[in-house]
């Protein structure tokens, strides 16, 4: 990946997109016995960079408030965060800053998704890793987050996994296509959405159990 660059991970369900992301983030210290990991041993991990990560599901503690969550991430990232900055971060993802004082157990699914984005973006990380960040958002939220990600491209590298070819085409500069754990395409984004569509459907999932 080069600076200010958006790399899009595409592939069918079970192709290994989330596993690849978690591998790059260092969640698999031992790759023995895993069907996919040996394919990727040449890839560098992100452990030496500041990272913002938005996982597929909102992995948040329901007993903490939004502010507790942002403050914890900020302290662990060694980046100071004031309440004003936290308010700005949640405003940027379409949340009212008042929600920061509420416990996460009172948040809706969309609000949790947005808080995940806020905790990943507030410190303008070197690399922003997003695993299907737009799933579960209504069209308004979808549009707002796409706009935010376009802005984030100005100061962060983006690694985004998605099933939406439209989003991939709109945001991406480079495409990586996975099929059953193997990287089958790695290159620039095709010239048109139709060409991306054709590329994607060239690599269907194997039969279940293959």
């Amino acid at each position: 990946m080069t600076d200010k660059h958006a790399l899009i991970l595409l592939g069918h369900n079970g192709a290994g997109k989330s596993t690849l992301i978690r591998y790059l983030l260092g969640f698999y210290p031992d790759e023995r016995g895993h069907p996919f990991l040996p394919h990727w041993q040449h890839l560098p991990s992100y452990t030496d960079k500041t990272i913002g990560y938005v996982p597929e599901l909102p992995f948040l503690d329901p007993h903490l408030t939004g502010w507790d969550t942002l403050k914890l991430q900020a302290k662990l990232n060694h980046t100071p965060l004031s309440k004003q900055q936290a308010g700005d971060a949640v405003n940027a993802v379409g949340l009212d800053s008042d929600v920061l004082t509420h416990r996460i157990q009172t948040y809706s699914k969309g609000m949790r998704q947005r808080l995940m984005l806020a905790q990943a973006c507030y410190h303008k990380p070197d690399v922003l890793v997003l695993d299907e960040p737009l799933s579960g958002l209504d069209p308004f939220g979808h549009q707002a987050i796409l706009d935010l990600l376009q802005t984030m491209k100005q100061h962060s590298q983006l690694l985004l996994s998605t099933h939406s070819l439209e989003d991939a085409y709109r945001l991406g500069d480079e495409i990586w296509l996975l099929q059953a754990g193997t990287l089958v395409y790695q290159g620039d984004k095709p010239g048109s959405i139709e060409a991306l569509n054709d590329l994607y459907f060239k690599y269907p999932p194997h039969a279940i159990g293959h």
Binding site: S18, T19, R22, L25, G26, F27, Y28, P29, D30, H34, I51, G52, Y53, P55, L57, F59, L60, D61, P62, H63, L64, D68, T69, L72, Q73, K75, L76, N77, H78, R103, Q119, V129
Partner: protein, 260 residues
């Protein structure tokens, strides 16, 4: 390093304190104290302090149950909600994260210990006009016993599911409480070889009988410094050893929130 561990411990402590479990333990404490006060009106002898004996019995139960349930809840929630994911994408080391989580529960137990110590002291002052220091010393030993049982549980959670870990921990605790009697039985009834084997087990197995001085305390026989120092060192060393082993295992684990 310390600030990272402290951050994790603080957020773990805060999240656990806000759970319904805390209200449950506070209610149970109030019920037990009420029951103890009611029972203490029964006069069973001048030197034997029934109320203090009851308090210690109940607080032994509460401290251990609280330690197990808070730790179990912390690990269960972490695994089912993938709570390790966001912290571990920062610069924190896995080992620091893992130790911080454990310390968060330890802080909560210290809070519970302080709460019990204050309540017990006030009640003793009101009832008998003086504080039995032995009772507070025993309370301290009980908290060390709870620490060791929590470390056992935490270690087991790195090997088996949280539910199985808590079952095994309770079994280990029960066996560990009966080791005094087992050794006595072996010395009186078994062969020299069997006795030596049981003596080995007496020190190698987490021995919770070292912490129980309730009878001495209830009979107002003061505890010597050796009776406090030995269990303290034993608990801290054994718990550190278990935590160290658990950390080594955790560092090598594949952490996959979807599969946990």
């Amino acid at each position: 390093m310390l600030s990272d561990i402290n951050c994790i411990a603080e957020s773990t402590f805060k999240a656990l304190l806000r759970q319904r479990l805390t209200a449950f333990f506070l209610t149970l404490t109030a019920i037990f104290i009420g029951f103890g006060l009611l029972m203490s009106t029964v006069d069973i002898g001048v030197r034997f302090r029934l109320f203090e004996n009851l308090l210690l019995g109940m607080q032994t139960f509460l401290l251990h149950i609280a330690g197990w349930l808070y730790l179990f809840e912390m690990v269960r929630k972490e695994q089912s909600l993938g709570l390790f994911v966001l912290p571990l994408t920062t610069t924190i080391k896995r080992s620091h994260y893992f130790i911080g989580r454990f310390l968060g529960v330890v802080w909560l137990m210290l809070l519970l210990l302080a709460f019990f110590a204050i309540i017990d002291s006030l009640l003793m002052l009101i009832i008998s006009g003086s504080v039995n220091i032995g009772l507070l010393q025993q309370l301290y030993l009980l908290s060390l016993s709870a620490l060791l049982s929590m470390a056992t549980l935490y270690f087991l959670t790195t090997l088996v599911s949280p539910v199985n870990a808590i079952i095994y921990s309770v079994i280990i605790w029960f066996i560990g409480n009966g080791l005094d009697e087992l050794l006595l039985f072996a010395e009186k009834k078994l062969t020299a070889t069997s006795t030596e084997l049981i003596r080995g087990l007496y020190y190698l197995w987490p021995n919770f009988s070292f912490f129980d001085k309730t009878e001495l305390v209830a009979n107002e026989i003061g505890l010597s410094w050796q009776q406090i120092a030995f269990p303290s060192i034993y608990s801290l060393l054994y718990s550190s050893l278990l935590l160290w082993a658990a950390t080594l295992i955790y560092q090598r684990k594949a952490l996959n929130p979807m599969a946990e």
